[in-house]
Amino acid sequence: MSWILATPIIIPFATAVLAFLFRHGPEGRWISVLGSAGLLIASIILMVEVLDQGVIAAQMGQWAAPFGITLVADLLSAVMVVITGITGLAVAIYALADVEERKEQLGYHALYQVLLAGVCGAFLTGDLFNLYVWFEVMLISSFGLLILGGQRQQLDGGIKYVTLNLISTILFLSGVGLLYGMTGTLNMADLHGAVQDVDNPGLLVVIAVMFMIAFGVKAAVFPLFFWLPASYHTPAISVSAIFAGLLTKVGVYSLIRMFTLVFTTDVAYTHTILLWVAGFTMVTGVLGAAAMNDFRRILSFHIVSQIGYMILGLALFTPLALVGAVFYLVHHIIVKANLFLVAGVARRIAGSTELSQIGGLYKTAPLLALLFLIPAFSLAGFPPLSGFWAKFVLIKAALEDGGYVIAAVALIVGLLTIYSMTKIWGNAFWKPHPAGLQPRLSSLPPKDRAALLTPIAALAILTCIIGLFPEPFVQFATRSADQLLNPEVYVQTVLSAAPEVSQ
């Protein structure tokens, strides 16, 4: 059983080692693609197992919980790992044509795989300190990816990314220390019971807020998001895409995990803060996007605004709202990574991501226009695409809970999202190219064209499938939300998954 849980972490690590050894030849990039495909297969096996059994857990090194490190997968963890596999493979294929040889020789593919391993580890661990370690694995490889190439712009963005993320890390670490001091355990399932017996609930709320800030920085919520729009538009497109898709969602995942499993002792206080945060995150993010004039910078601010919706689902803390949050997470990762990939192709054929310097894509590259429209409309929430259902569920949950103001905010932010998407559409696609260039997809070498467009098309089709057949996905999210709100099964599975220790 334990290998099912461990393979999504082991495969990318092994791939990283191989990719690093073969970094000077063309083998490295194919190893990366193969490894990502392996990760996707391993994650699907995990998913099948979790769908069958509900929650599965394994003790690493045969130390019984709560003393050893537990790997545990419930439906939320499993679906996040599957999505990591999907985006990981898509971006690995895209990177075949996107990442220059010089960056490959510096170890791009190895860093990329370590990043995937860190993300999967963070989704699968059941131990708080182990979560910290996975965050660090993720962080150090993302540092490397962000500044790989060493352009001045990248270094500038890198400084802000590195410093602010390190602060969040230290807050997280202090929170772990204090929580351990109060409860004497670091196993998340064990913490669920231990926090009920704490004799100083006030201090527990303080620690909860510390975790909120630490994960809030990672998730890029208001007012802690400034590192994201400062850095996400500077690295290679593949790096932007995987960051945009996965990294902030690890923060959101950790928030959801901690604030459904552990910090539920004072929901009225903590989740009200989260509700305000959600509202402001949505609004500031979308206003920032409306003010930008660069393809990737608009998209970066949209990440912030969309994070608000997921936090909204957590903050409302009703079954339906959590269904919305889970659905939104899955939908958003696919759509956002895809939009960045489209931005990369636009840059390749039109020469820039600065909207004033490109244009004419609709006339000469209609396929790319279509591939942009699908995720863009999905992000804005047009039926019948995946974003519509995600927003629909969340707003319905807000209305049912009596949160009319927050529902109105969510709807207005949706409108403003369309506004900034039309800005990209008008400038990059409808306006003629300012330099008179006629950007065509056929100007790309056929191999590159295949490597760039296949992942975009695949992700776009996935968005359409979720949008056209939302029923199984909503059912899945409902089951997952049910697990999150009733963590007894999770707790029991972890604590009883003790291996038979020979006496």
Partner: protein, 138 residues
């Protein structure tokens, strides 16, 4: 003993916040080093300090003596120190490279990735003119 360490953590945090509020990125990094040490001490002290009782199992017994020192926080701190060391090595190199490339350590002057958009750039103006020209001719 706990009180003493707690006070020390407080002083360290105060000093590091002071350092981190500086515009100089290098001072900021030094602040980070200090505050990470404060975090490590927090973990250390939250395991309760029990001087002069090492977590050793007496001969013949299977469990340590009743009020032996807690070994787990020390393991955690050790891990955190190692990770922190790697991160700061990276951060210092990054700051050095940035200084070499940008010629400044003042964070206010680091606006390359996010240029101030008070006036439209030259390229943008040209583009707009062309756009308008095209519009009027057609």
């Amino acid at each position: 003993m706990e009180l003493l360490v707690a006070l020390m953590v407080g002083v360290l945090v105060a000093a590091s916040v002071h350092l981190m509020l500086a515009r100089n990125v290098l001072r900021f990094i030094f602040g980070l080093v200090l505050i990470s040490n404060a975090a490590n001490l927090t973990i250390f002290v939250s395991g309760r300090l029990t001087p002069e009782s090492p977590p050793l199992i007496p001969e013949g017994a299977t469990t340590p003596v009743a009020d032996a020192a807690n070994a787990l926080p020390q393991a955690l701190v050790l891990t955190a120190i190692v990770i922190g060391f790697g991160l700061f090595a990276f951060a210092l190199t990054l700051v050095y490279r940035t200084y070499q490339n940008l010629g400044t350590l003042n964070s206010d002057e680091m606006r390359l990735a996010e240029p101030l958009e008070s006036k439209p750039s030259a390229a943008k103006q040209v583009a707009e003119k062309q756009y308008i020209a095209r519009d009027t001719t057609s």
